[in-house]
């Protein structure tokens, strides 16, 4: 790669040396001046051109930052550098049609209602978040002022790669004017007023007058400088509306509700401007307007973690597939509010597939259609001669986020490369099963997850809720029906090693540092919606835990979901907390040293007296209970789950484990780096916390490294999706998928002390299993059926899948 690098050095210098001029309101030719002397040939990959050329195994020739040719048999030019990508999949670089990458924290929330903002002013080209985004094959993002202003200003399409100046990053400026209706006004009446104001403003400009205030109140939104600038603002609003009316720039209008969406279309008809509808989370019958007009729309996210904005809260799970069916001109966006969130484009696309969108349509929505919707299809989004060489190569399907990225190129420059990415061919399929399963039956599959974590062809004979026989082939008694699910994947009910099932408030009491007497088993809530979702998502065995507010938190329970009410199997592990959550300024300990000293004396046999105001006999009973639960860990072989995030916390957990000689598992460690040997030497496993939009990739990479150092890894989380995303991202970062699958099943069960055989399918074991459309690590896959001792609950699929 040396030669390649020196070539790009030229390009970059040329860009640096050239003048940085933002040409107002015209799209910059961005790649033209990149002077890459060398020719690179990407050979042997399956190429999704996203053009009429279709998909084939062939080569792409890249010269001077552009695609020179693409085809099945392309002549390799003399002196070209050839990269062999046999077995990989090559697509145009992915596009996030709504991102906050490159924006400073303040710019992400910057809003205006006067069209005064140019998003390029909020771009910080020195931010490094692009590295995480680039790693996932994303090469372009669309950014614009925040949607909390009704008429914010100019949006832009930016490159994902190193840049020392905004100029280096710009693919196109002024690609749309940001606007929003019905975001700030929640009632129908307020929305109607806003629609009227929009129309009035557009009419005024059409008549050559100054537009009235778009917000409808006199509160200043955004940013006025001195007195003069206030007077100057309406001109800017007018200028921008004029551009829209002259069809020089499209209006990108974020609208969610039916009335606003429809009004937007009417306005576009009346004033004859180009419209991009953004959002569309509850379009109701307006979806037929989308279809009728073949409107340009940006939608998403297909799933989200954390706090969901009010206008997306009641979204229908089938929405994406309905939109995809109604118009081909739709782009998928992450809508992430974190700079690194754009790396989730593939996760979003996978979630879209899981919710019923055709795979081809999902891929188009993050490549060629995204480019069309954004108006940059002449530069990016497909692979054809003359297009900018923004390419992504994956070691598997681009829509399977667990497949690693092999290489990413923007403007002909390699910005990410992983020579170790080995092909991963996960696929999804369709599975048909009857509505009711009989008493006895045989399931036949090409892919069943065995106890070691591998997929193999198998048959399983289920009789009265038990596995009567299992093997490559089993003797099938006469009259027993056989369901062949083909490529459908059969796994045991998955394990979530540590969860509160949404019951945090019942599981917390920080009055005293020692709450060893608390048993999570005592408060399991049968009808918890979180539990239902967990089960629908394929997770059956839950490590149900007290929260982390006490150094000695209490006893975890093994909860088996899916029967009419959840079954508490047993008390399984003691939970202890060295992380900051258990420090309190109101009681001892308030420091890590204090926590360590406290736990050390607890494990050493000292039970602190309770200071609760209870009668003496009760206090003694509490103390007895505490002692018993601590002894169960120290001498009784019950594992300890120790929450420890920072390096000193992890180190302290290791020391306590070794000093007192019990079995323990680390919960939520953040900084495994440099401690992997110690963790391994102490025989400890790791329960990984959920992957977060804000995490650096180093988190997944550390999990992968730990797994490769043979440290057992399990996963945890509050929703099935976040657990699977965490596992998929770890696999993406290099964790062997066998270990990840074990981490979702047997390893996890062992780690937290669930009975041997939990989450395994053996002869004689209870038949808790899940039938999937693909591997649980492939986020496109959904559970078709979750069967619990045959007396199954669960429903069809896509609803449960990613939402």
């Amino acid at each position: 790669m040396r030669a390649l690098r020196s070539a790009t050095a030229h390009g970059l210098c040329a860009v640096l040396a050239s003048l940085f001029v933002i040409v107002p309101l015209s799209k910059l030719a961005s790649a033209g001046d990149v002077n890459t002397a060398e020719t690179i040939v990407l050979q042997g990959a399956t190429i999704h051109t996203m053009t009429e050329q279709g998909t084939f195994v062939g080569s792409v020739v890249v010269e001077k930052g552009k695609v020179k040719s693409v085809g099945k048999d392309v002549k390799v030019p003399e002196g070209a550098m050839v990269m062999d990508l046999t077995g990989h999949i090559l697509t145009p670089g992915l596009i996030d049609s709504r991102s906050v990458l490159w924006l400073t924290a303040a710019a992400r929330n910057e809003a205006s209602s006067r069209g005064t903002l140019n998003i390029l002013d909020g771009v910080n080209p020195f931010l490094e978040d692009w590295r995480e985004v680039s790693r996932q094959g994303v090469t372009a993002v669309y950014v614009q002022p925040s949607n909390s202003g009704v008429f914010g200003g100019r949006g832009a399409v930016l490159r994902v790669g190193a840049g020392n100046s905004v100029r280096d990053l710009v693919i196109a400026t002024d690609v749309a004017v940001q606007s929003a209706m019905g975001i700030t006004g929640d009632t129908v009446r307020e929305r109607a007023a806003q629609i009227r104001r929009f129309k009035r403003a557009f009419q005024a400009v059409k008549d050559g007058k100054d537009p009235p205030n778009l917000t409808g109140n006199n509160r200043q939104q955004g940013n006025q400088g001195g007195r003069r600038s206030q007077a100057a603002q309406p001109n800017q609003t007018k200028e921008l509306i004029k551009l829209v009316l002259d069809r020089k720039v499209p209006l990108r209008l974020e609208a969610h509700q039916e009335d606003v969406v429809r009004a937007a279309f009417e306005m576009a008809d009346e004033f004859e401007f180009d419209l991009i509808v953004d959002g569309l989370s509850s379009p109701g019958s307006a979806i037929s307007d989308v279809a009728a007009r073949q409107a340009r729309v940006v939608v998403g996210p297909a799933w989200e973690s954390g706090a969901v904005p009010s206008y997306r809260r009641d979204r229908d799970d089938q929405l994406l597939s309905r939109i995809a069916e109604s118009t081909s001109r739709w782009a998928l966006a992450t809508y992430s509010t974190e700079a690194r969130g754009s790396r989730m484009v593939r996760v979003q696309a996978a979630a879209a597939v899981a919710s019923g969108v055709e795979a081809e349509s999902a891929l188009r929505a993050v490549t060629v259609e995204a480019a069309r919707v954004l108006g940059v299809a002449d530069q990016i989004g497909s692979i054809a001669p003359g297009m900018q060489a923004d390419l992504a190569v994956f070691a598997g399907s681009p829509l399977d986020p667990a497949a690693s990225t092999r290489m990413v190129m923007t403007r002909g420059e390699v910005v990410y490369e992983d020579a170790d990415a080995s092909p991963n061919n996960s696929s999804i399929t369709t599975v048909d099963l009857p509505a009711e399963m009989p008493e006895s039956y045989v399931i036949r599959t090409k892919r069943m997850l065995n106890a070691v974590g591998e997929m193999q062809p198998a048959e399983m004979f289920i009789q009265n809720g038990l596995v009567a026989a299992i093997g490559k082939t089993v003797t099938i008694p006469k009259g027993v029906p056989v369901f062949d699910v083909g490529d459908g994947v059969v796994t045991p009910g998955l394990v979530n090693a540590h969860s509160y099932l949404g019951q945090q408030s019942m599981l917390s009491d920080d009055t005293e540092a020692d709450s060893s007497q608390i048993r999570a088993a005592d408060v399991i809530e049968a009808s918890s919606p979180v539990a239902k979702k967990m089960l629908a998502g394929g997770f059956v065995n839950i490590g149900f835990a007290p929260t982390s507010v006490n150094p000695s938190a209490g006893v975890m329970a093994h909860v088996r979901l899916g029967a009419k009410k959840p079954i508490v199997v047993d008390d399984i592990a003691g939970k202890f907390v060295l992380s900051g959550d258990a420090r309190s300024n109101d009681r001892l300990p308030s420091s890590l040293v204090g926590q360590v000293m406290f736990l050390n004396s607890l494990f050493g046999g000292t039970t602190p007296m309770t200071r609760l105001y209870v009668p003496d006999p009760v206090a003694r009973a509490i103390e007895r209970e505490r002692r018993a639960n601590v002894d169960a860990v120290v001498t009784g072989g019950r594992p300890a789950v120790v929450a420890a995030e920072s390096a000193p916390e992890i180190q302290a957990a290791i020391n306590l484990t070794q000093q007192h000689g019990f079995t323990s598992v680390l919960l939520d460690p953040e900084r495994i780096q440099g401690l992997a040997n110690d963790i391994s030497a102490a025989g400890m496993g790791i329960i990984a916390r959920p992957f977060d939009d804000n995490d650096f990739d180093s988190y997944s990479q550390q999990l992968a490294k730990a797994a490769n150092a043979r440290i057992p890894i399990a996963f945890s989380g509050q929703t099935p999706q976040e657990i699977r995303v965490t596992a998929a991202m770890a696999v993406n970062a290099g964790m062997p998928s066998v270990m990840a699958l074990r981490g979702l099943t047997a390893t996890a069960a062992d780690m937290v002390g669930m009975p041997t055989g939990t989450a395994q399918l053996n002869k004689g074991s209870v038949a808790d299993f899940v039938i999937w459309t693909g591997s649980p690590l492939d986020l496109r896959a959904v559970p078709v059926r979750v069967l619990i001792q045959s007396e199954l609950e669960t429903v069809r699929t896509s609803t449960g899948a990613m939402n």
Binding site: R5, A162, S590, Q595, S646
Partner: protein, 392 residues
């Protein structure tokens, strides 16, 4: 592996120009360092001087050293100076998850070693500034706060800690009272004393009283060993009245002479401090705002005044060499300035048998400068810990 050009440039620049403290281990079994001047701190500087380092220890030092054949010889040049690695006798570097256990009044067994982040940037910063040994102390919010942990700023993790429970650390200032007031929690179980500075002294006095009367007291051995002189006693005292209070209680209970930590106003009570023979670990020298809740008054030449009064003192906190330089500028003799960041702190914290001087058998913790160490324009070329060289 792929970097963009800018990041390559930046990395190159970082390595080549800015000088990162990269852990390039160039430990040979035996290396002879020839320098323009060697400040052994055991006598007059040797000029020129040579130091033979074998297996992480100093094997020999002198004007010339008879080195065995075949040793690696490193000639540092005529302008270069070799000094012992600096010793910071009072710092909280790396102590994570809270420096105090301030929900209890007395925490004599609080041991910072249990919660040190060995990758904390503070260690790299200290190392780059020439500091090789640290006394990591608890915070100042407990009257009897715990013990100090003596550690090197780099090296293999196992060999970094010199001692886990070195000195007993107490606070005779208003800090322990700072946060205490009636808490919001209705049960009020955990309100603690003291809520003012009188209370601080009262707790100390009542503890010492219990100790003297043989009353029941938690972690008695830890407390006793500190006050009986079995291990150093470090007492944070900044204002002149902190210091006089310390002297008064010391007299009353006849405990072993403590080391004053902070001591910003020692210059006001030099006679008493000198008479009582108390050494001082001076808090970080500043020319700006005052220290602690009491806002002490400032004398730039604090160190010079202490030196004149015959009080033993060391510098602490932050860039030690820079503090020594400023102390010189403001009136301290140069020889004393170097003592106060090497030999003296080593003696005060009880590790002078291993660090603080350049003599046979000592740890090979060295600082190499490219000129007079006390000039502001002199840079540190490299720092060595246990014979391992960390390039600047």
């Amino acid at each position: 592996m792929n970097m963009t050009i800018t990041s390559v440039l930046r990395v190159c620049a970082a390595l080549g120009l800015f000088g990162v403290a990269c852990a390039t281990s160039v430990t040979a079994e035996s290396t002879l360092y020839k320098a323009g001047t060697v400040y052994t701190m055991t006598g007059d500087p040797l000029s020129p001087g040579q130091v033979l380092v074998t297996d992480g220890k100093i094997a020999a030092v002198g004007g010339t050293v008879n080195a065995p054949a075949g040793v690696t010889v490193v000639d540092l040049g005529d302008d270069s100076c070799l000094l012992p690695g600096f010793i910071d006798a009072y710092t909280q570097t790396g102590l994570s998850g809270g420096t105090d256990e301030f929900t209890a009044e007395l925490t004599p067994d609080f041991c910072p070693a249990l919660a040190i982040d060995w990758n904390d940037r503070g260690f790299a910063e200290a190392l780059a500034a020439g500091t090789t040994t640290l006394a990591i102390c608890p915070g100042t919010e407990n009257v009897i706060a715990g013990c100090s942990c003596l550690a090197k700023t780099n090296g293999e993790r196992e060999s970094r800690i010199l001692q886990n429970d070195a000195a007993l650390f107490i606070s005779v200032c208003s800090d322990p009272a700072r946060r205490n007031r009636a808490r919001a929690r209705p049960d009020g179980l955990y309100n603690r004393l003291p809520t003012n500075r009188m209370g601080v002294v009262w707790i100390l006095r009542s503890t010492l009283d219990k100790l003297r009367r043989g009353r029941d007291i938690e972690a008695r051995d830890d407390i006793e060993s500190g006050f009986s002189g079995q291990r150093p006693l470090m007492a944070v005292a900044r204002t002149s009245h902190d210091i006089t209070a310390l002297l008064t209680i010391g007299e009353e209970f006849a405990f072993a002479p403590p080391i004053i930590v902070g001591g910003q106003e020692t210059y006001k009570v030099t006679e008493q401090v000198a008479a009582a023979g108390l050494p001082v670990i001076l808090g970080s020298l500043t020319t700006g705002s005052a220290n602690g809740p009491e806002r002490t008054e400032l004398a730039y030449n604090q160190a010079g005044l202490l030196s004149k009064a015959g009080i033993t003192f060391a510098f602490s906190g932050g860039n030690l060499l820079e503090q020594a330089r400023f102390a010189c500028r403001f009136g301290l003799e140069p020889g004393k300035a170097l003592q106060a960041i090497t030999k003296t702190p080593a003696e005060l914290i009880g590790v002078s048998d291993r660090v603080g001087t350049i003599a046979p058998g000592m740890d090979a913790d060295l600082v190499v400068t490219d000129g007079d160490p006390l000039e502001f324009t002199t840079g540190i070329r490299f720092v060595m810990v246990n014979g391992q060289v960390f390039e600047q």
